[in-house]
């Protein structure tokens, strides 16, 4: 049996695990829950590997490989089936999701060991895996949307995992609502697509779309609108401006969740969708430009906020946002493969960062404020080493993963026609900032003298179950980028080559671009590295040489500092211009006026009317059989009169003889 015919197994396994844990887990000891959760995800990882192995042996003509399992919705000429699709893009996502997901599951068994609702956590986590796999395997927008909403749901559940903490549940709600805004756009986009192409299955849709003429730049054609709408959804899911606000708060969830959902996989769904529908986007240069700008802006914006945050996880959150911005930048400038590449590498090192941060928090007993850490490098060496690796990777030091991916993005940004230089400049600046705040994090956390109460807090290295994933991820974030390494030595970028079947149409003569790139590759790389080093240097100077300096700086330019510290007051602004008016409208207008005065009044009115009518009519209900009989007879008379009407007309002859 070829597993390609049974693709549904891959998502089904986590679903099964989720169901089993969710239903029976409460009675079971953690061990069994572990076995179920980790086992199911592990199995699905193996299944994914096998699927990929068989996929590589497929003949090019049956790629993308689509299996139709059953028709889910059918209405008129609209058909949404439970169809799973696997192509090169899917393969990458599949491996990232299952692999990283599995590692994080293992990590969680250690991290969550002492938490309540253990089974609940893993049930949710498996559920997330299921929906994420549906999302990446879906062969049409509808099923993809199912996964899309599903991951949203599980993310909501997991953010609010400590639902006793108000902040947590609020964060959950915030995430959910903000995502809804995006989903609104996404659905509109789907509708528009269906209206235009009459189908939502990827293969036929793109086949129809390819020959159509692209919209002109700056002109709102169908493609542009559809893409912008889809991108709106992507913004919601992938926390881009202006919908990024939920992601930092999402850090209320347990750290593995932040790692898996809010760094590695779910938040990249937006990127995935954009890449998946790249054909539409290439038909809409305007949309592409918007994507690029938004991505770039987000990257820079989030990075600046990340500079001053003191909560270790928030720093990582903002860095996630900015990295996602990078990916969108890549997609926006048409380098989808680069974007996906960065997605993958980012999945590795950002997951690693979060997990390591989790390990740190775990080590010093739940403290998240970097200002109360420091000098931990001796005590928790392995965590330190792995986290340092990840930092180097994200800061873009060669030859780690981040370097290659980020470099690819910057290169394509530089090459892109519309305002490429500016995008490049901001990207570079962001890279600098990135390396700065990452090293700031490292220094504040691991170096300098301890700023926590050493008598109270007893620092201890995390258990194996947490460290092993860290190491694996560390290795991955080192070697993860080497697939693209050959680009420097003139030979083609394997990753791009691998994804070429998908992005072939869009790569617009990738070879030519490659050739043009050869010249720029090296210098740009050097520039990037320099900027990274610069960031490192600044951080080193500020946080190791003169630890007092940052405070003075903060005082000296308190305006900027506070603005950054309060994240540009975005939440406040949103509250002021959206949330509060909305609340006011809903309470005083919708509730007081519409609901109470109009709707309730109508409903009650109807009810009272019914009562009054009943009062009138009930007198027929004398409870006396004989009167009932009379009513029956009257009815019978009427019916007979109607049926036999023709025979009662005097016209008809023939009397009783």
């Amino acid at each position: 049996m070829s597993i390609l015919n049974y693709l549904w197994i891959i998502p089904a396994l986590p679903l099964l695990g989720s169901a089993v844990n969710g239903l029976f887990g409460s009675k079971w000891p953690n061990k069994i829950v572990n076995v179920v959760a980790v086992g199911s995800t592990g199995l699905s990882f193996l299944a994914a590997l096998e699927a990929v192995r068989e996929f590589t042996h497929l003949a090019p003509e049956n790629i993308p490989w689509v299996k139709q399992y059953f028709t889910w919705i059918i209405a008129g000429d609209f058909r949404a089936g439970f169809d799973l699709q696997i192509d090169h893009l899917t393969v990458v996502m599949l491996l990232v999701v299952t692999g990283v997901g599995w590692l994080i599951h293992i990590y969680s068994t250690g991290y969550m060991a002492h938490e309540g609702g253990y089974y609940r956590f893993f049930s949710y986590l498996n559920l997330f895996m299921f929906f994420m796999l549906i999302l990446v395997l879906a062969a049409n927008y509808v099923l993809l949307f199912v996964g899309w909403e599903g991951v949203g749901l599980s993310s909501y559940l997991l953010i609010g995992f400590y639902f006793l903490r108000k902040s947590a549940s609020d964060a959950g709600k915030k995430a959910f609502i903000v995502n809804r805004i995006g989903d609104f756009g996404f659905m509109l986009g789907m509708f528009l697509l269906f209206r235009t192409f009459g189908t939502l299955d990827f293969v036929p849709l793109f086949a129809k779309a390819t020959p159509m003429p692209a919209d002109a730049m700056g002109h709102l054609g169908m493609f542009t609108v559809a893409c912008l709408l889809l991108f709106m959804g992507a913004c919601g899911k992938s926390a881009q401006l202006p919908l990024y606000v939920w992601l930092p708060d999402a850090m209320e969830g347990p750290t593995p969740v932040s790692a898996l959902i809010h760094a590695a996989t779910m938040v990249t769904a937006g990127v995935y969708v954009v890449a998946r529908s790249h054909i539409l986007f290439t038909h809409a240069p305007t949309a592409m430009f918007v994507v690029a700008v938004v991505g770039c802006a987000t990257a820079f914006f989030a990075a600046t906020i990340g500079l001053v945050q003191t909560d270790i996880k928030r720093v990582l959150a903002y860095s996630t946002v900015s990295q996602l911005g990078y990916m969108f930048l890549a997609c926006g400038v048409g380098a989808f493969s680069a974007g996906i590449f960065h997605l993958m590498t980012h999945a590795f090192f950002k997951a690693l960062l979060f997990l390591a941060a989790g390990s740190v928090i775990h080590a010093i007993g739940g403290e998240q404020d970097m200002m109360r850490m420091g000098g931990l490098s001796k005590k928790i060496r392995w965590t330190y080493v792995t986290m340092l690796t990840a930092t180097l990777a994200i800061a873009g030091f060669p030859p780690l993963a981040g370097f290659f991916s980020k470099d690819a993005i910057l290169l394509s940004a530089y090459q892109s026609e519309h305002g490429g230089r500016i995008l490049y400049a901001f990207g570079l600046l962001t890279a600098l900032l990135t390396s700065f705040y990452m090293f700031r994090l490292i220094f504040l956390t691991f170096h300098g003298k301890p700023r926590y109460d050493e008598k109270k807090v007893h620092v201890h290295e995390s258990p194996k179950s947490m460290l092993v994933p860290l190491m694996i991820l560390a290795v991955l974030s080192i070697i993860g980028g080497w697939m693209a390494a050959p680009a420097f030595f003139g030979s083609p970028d394997y990753f791009a080559k691998f994804l070429e079947p998908v992005f072939a149409q869009t790569a617009g003569g990738a070879e030519a671009a490659e050739a043009a790139a050869q010249a720029l590759e090296i210098p740009l790389a050097i520039v990037a590295v320099v900027s990274a080093l610069l960031g490192f240097a600044v951080a080193f100077w500020l946080y190791l040489k003169q630890p007092g300096k940052p405070a003075q700086l903060a005082k000296s330019m308190s305006g900027v500092y506070n603005t950054l510290l309060h994240k540009y007051y975005v939440d406040e602004i949103y509250n002021a211009i959206i949330v509060n008016p909305l609340l006011w409208v809903s309470t005083s207008v919708l509730w007081q006026a519409v609901d109470v005065r109009a709707i309730d009044a109508t409903v009650n009115g109807i009810a009272e009317g019914a009562t009054d009518i009943g009062d009138g009519v009930r007198h027929t209900q004398s409870g006396n059989t004989r009167s009932y009989a009379v009513w029956v007879v009257i009815g019978a008379l009427v019916i007979i009169a109607i049926i036999f009407w023709p025979y009662f007309r005097p016209a008809t002859v023939g009397m009783v003889r």
Partner: protein, 100 residues
């Protein structure tokens, strides 16, 4: 040979009398009997038609009606016994718990 519609008219009359009895009588048993009367009227119509159309189905239906009537009598009389036992009266006008 008796024309079919004689039988039909007779059955109509019997049915009507049954209805009258149903509305006119107060004794619950008598009312029940009037129901039986109506059933019989219908049976007559059935047989008449079965003869008119030279099909036996009508008679089969009569048999079914009789069976149903028997079952109905069993249950109905059981109910009547219970009513009589609980309310010490067979007058339907005294059994009007359903009134407003």
């Amino acid at each position: 040979m008796v024309p079919t519609h004689y039988y039909l008219i007779l059955s109509a009359i019997l049915f009507g009398l049954g209805v009258v009895a149903f509305m006119f009588r107060r004794n619950i048993i008598t009312i029940f009997m009037s129901i039986e009367l109506m059933l019989n009227a219908v049976n007559l119509a059935f047989v008449a038609f079965s003869r008119a159309l030279n099909k036996l189905d009508g008679q089969v239906f009569v048999l079914f009606v009789i069976v149903v009537a028997a079952a109905e009598a069993a249950v109905g009389l059981g109910i009547i016994i219970v009513i009589a036992r609980n309310r010490q009266s067979l007058n339907v006008e005294r059994v009007d718990l359903l009134k407003l």
